[in-house]
């Protein structure tokens, strides 16, 4: 049973350079977002959020219909839908396809879904060359690491880290100027784009009435991967569906703004199958892999199915005071931040990291900024309850459970509650009035009290509680 990764947390918290990198990058993203969703910049913002929430809700509540509509539309345009129950099926299909086409080189657009199914590792094991083409993902791939943030994969790195990495892995001269580093990546990747046999992408949206895949990018790698190779494979969770192309008028206004503070990203690609007769370029084959991988299980939870509304914008990460302290690698799975905290337990089971839903102060900043209004704090609370129930079944956390049973009993017996309070104030009494306690005498300096005093001072229990003082006050007044 995975315990809280305290040592790793401490390492991250005690690394000033990393703290600075995380804090400033997320701070910048927050500020950029704020400017473009303000009432002046986007007066309809709240209305659009409501509309997007309603559209996602409707889509998921009628998902089977839209899935079938999507497949018909893709097929009608000369593409092919491949239904994948789990990661294994998606990987298998791609492997078989590559063999069939005698394809060896794959270029990829950034896709959290492909991270989820560990696509690269599996394909590489099959002897295929997979190159990430998004600059941040390219860097992460060279580093043999995983993304630090849903939208900005290399958020934790400085230009010096990148310089050292490029020299070590690409053999180029050390250069810490981001412009030059970008040019290096451009040169390397251009060759890869031109030579690739298969382009693999995710999908920001799947359009049911059109059978289309929508990709939003900034660098142009998305277009490269879906234009130059002969085959385009898009891998997307079944929850990415929206009913109509026209609904993009709502969603596209929310996604870029929430993610990076851009009213629109540089490239929005609406990809509707292989090239048509007469078209000069574009893929000759177009596949969309519809991935379940546990999503239908989430769907069955009437309340928490809202988790599937997520647009993967990363706004919740940027605004989360916990993410901004521990960063993306301290989350147990590929999805980090508040959305990761509710998605991971539901996809992997609460036992995968029972502590995760508790690693939040429930401040609610995430729900405030979510473009599709996912009530993340509510689901964290529900997952906490589920975690405790699971712990109870496994005979764990006995002491804590007992503690709360006792607490509930005391709270239902006011005289006992008062007596305990009075006793406590004797033990933890003020030595100097108003002076807080740095630590406690050894026998009681354990558990929660020790955890408290490890970071801050403890208040002394006042000699008399409010109710005692109130009684005295009433007595004095009645004289």
């Amino acid at each position: 049973m995975p315990a809280v990764p305290e040592a790793q947390f401490r390492e991250t918290l005690n690394n000033p350079a990393l703290q600075s990198a995380i804090y400033s990058a997320t701070g910048r993203l927050m500020e950029k977002r704020r400017l473009v969703v303000s009432p002046e910049a986007l007066p309809d913002f709240q209305e659009l959020r409501d509309c997007a929430h309603a559209l996602k809700k409707h889509t998921l509540e009628n998902l089977d219909y839209y899935l079938e509509q999507f497949e018909s539309a893709v097929t009608a345009r000369g593409g092919k839908v491949v239904w994948c129950k789990d990661a294994g099926e998606a990987v298998d299909f791609l492997t078989r396809l590559a063999k069939e086409k005698d394809a060896h080189r794959i270029v990829k657009v950034k896709s959290m879904t492909t991270e989820e199914i560990e696509l690269n590792e599996h394909l590489e094991r099959e002897g295929l060359e997979v190159t990430e083409s998004d600059l941040g993902e390219f860097i992460v791939q060279l580093r043999r690491s995983r993304p630090y943030h849903i939208v900005a994969p290399a958020l934790d790195l400085t230009r010096y880290d990148v310089a050292e990495l490029f020299t070590r892995r690409l053999g180029v001269e050390q250069d810490d100027v981001p412009e030059h580093q970008t040019q290096t990546a451009r040169k390397v990747l251009r060759q890869k784009f031109l030579e690739a046999d298969i382009g693999v992408s995710g999908a920001n949206f799947l359009i049911a009435d059109s059978g289309a895949v929508v990709l939003v990018t900034n660098e142009g790698n998305g277009r490269m991967c879906t234009t130059l190779p002969k085959v385009h494979v898009a891998i997307a969770g079944i929850e990415k569906l929206i009913p109509r192309a026209q609904d993009l008028a709502v969603f596209l206004k929310l996604l870029g703004r929430s993610a990076t503070g851009q009213p629109l990203t540089v490239y929005t690609s609406f990809l509707n199958g292989p090239r048509r007769p007469g078209e000069i370029d574009g893929p000759e084959e177009f596949y969309v892999l519809l991935l379940d991988n546990g999503r239908t299980r989430l769907l069955a939870d009437r309340e928490k199915r809202e988790t599937l509304f997520c647009l993967r914008c990363g706004a919740c990460l940027n605004h989360c005071p916990v993410y901004r302290k521990i960063g993306g690698h301290n989350y147990p799975w590929v999805y980090s931040g508040p959305i990761g905290a509710i998605l991971s337990p539901q996809m992997l089971g609460i036992q995968s990291a029972p502590w995760l839903p508790f690693a939040s102060s429930l401040c609610g900043a995430c729900a405030d900024v979510c473009p599709v209004k996912i009530n993340i704090p509510k689901f964290l609370l529900q997952l906490r309850s589920e975690a405790n129930k699971a712990a109870q079944r496994d005979g764990q956390n006995r002491l804590e459970r007992l503690g709360f049973r006792a607490w509930a009993w005391v709270m239902r017996h006011p005289k006992i509650y008062e007596a305990l309070g009075a006793m406590g104030s004797i033990v933890l009494s003020e030595q100097e009035p108003g002076r807080w306690l740095r630590d406690l005498p050894a026998p009681i300096n354990i558990g929660p009290l020790r955890a408290w005093t490890s970071e801050r001072d403890l208040p002394p229990l006042p000699p008399r509680s409010f109710r005692q003082l109130w009684r005295e006050r009433a007595r004095k007044r009645s004289r």
Partner: protein, 241 residues
Amino acid sequence: MSQRVALFVTCIVDQLFPEVGLATAEVLERLGYQVDFPEDQTCCGQPAFNTGYRKEAREVACRCIEILRGAEYIVVPSGSCTSMITHHYEELFAKDPSRLEELHGLLPRVWEFSRFLLEVAKVEDLGARYDGIVTFHDSCHGLRELKIKDGPRRLLSHVRGLTLREMDLAEECCGFGGTFSVKFPGISGAMSRNKIDSILRTGADTVTGVDASCLLQLRGALSRAGLPIKTLHLAQILASQ
């Protein structure tokens, strides 16, 4: 015959910050209210609810509803305890129609302290005096669930001798989060220090808010850092003369 209000002080004020409860009562009495304190009150159940123990939370919440029966107004000097009742009890009693009905009758009568002053008593100037540079911390539940933002600032604007300065991180969580503070002390502590840095940047000598639990966290962190900045609940400043 003066209007009566019942005080739900909250367990944390009762046991750790009784002066906040007294200040709350004083302010209300000065406005002409007769303040009752239903003696059998203990807690709203939030600690258990937040730690995932819903059965235990429900037991305590049931009792809390019973205690608060009959009072026309219930004033609570805490944003998070108020919102526990007004925003989260619903989920606890979702399967209990009769309790739910009683809850719905209770909800309009439960008021967080600052909102009571502004929206029920309809008062902004309490004739208070406090000499100091004060910065206001926006507690998360108060801010996001009860929409408490301008209200306390308006109340503070009338306090004579008081200079109000805004923190750049006023809305950032202090890091308390109930049991989060002891389950993840490293993160909680780091968050509190972030907040303290923001307070320091204002040059304030006092930080205030509507939630004693936030003040517990902030004062604990300020004390550990050896900083002489005072933490006072809004009620204490408004009671000050």
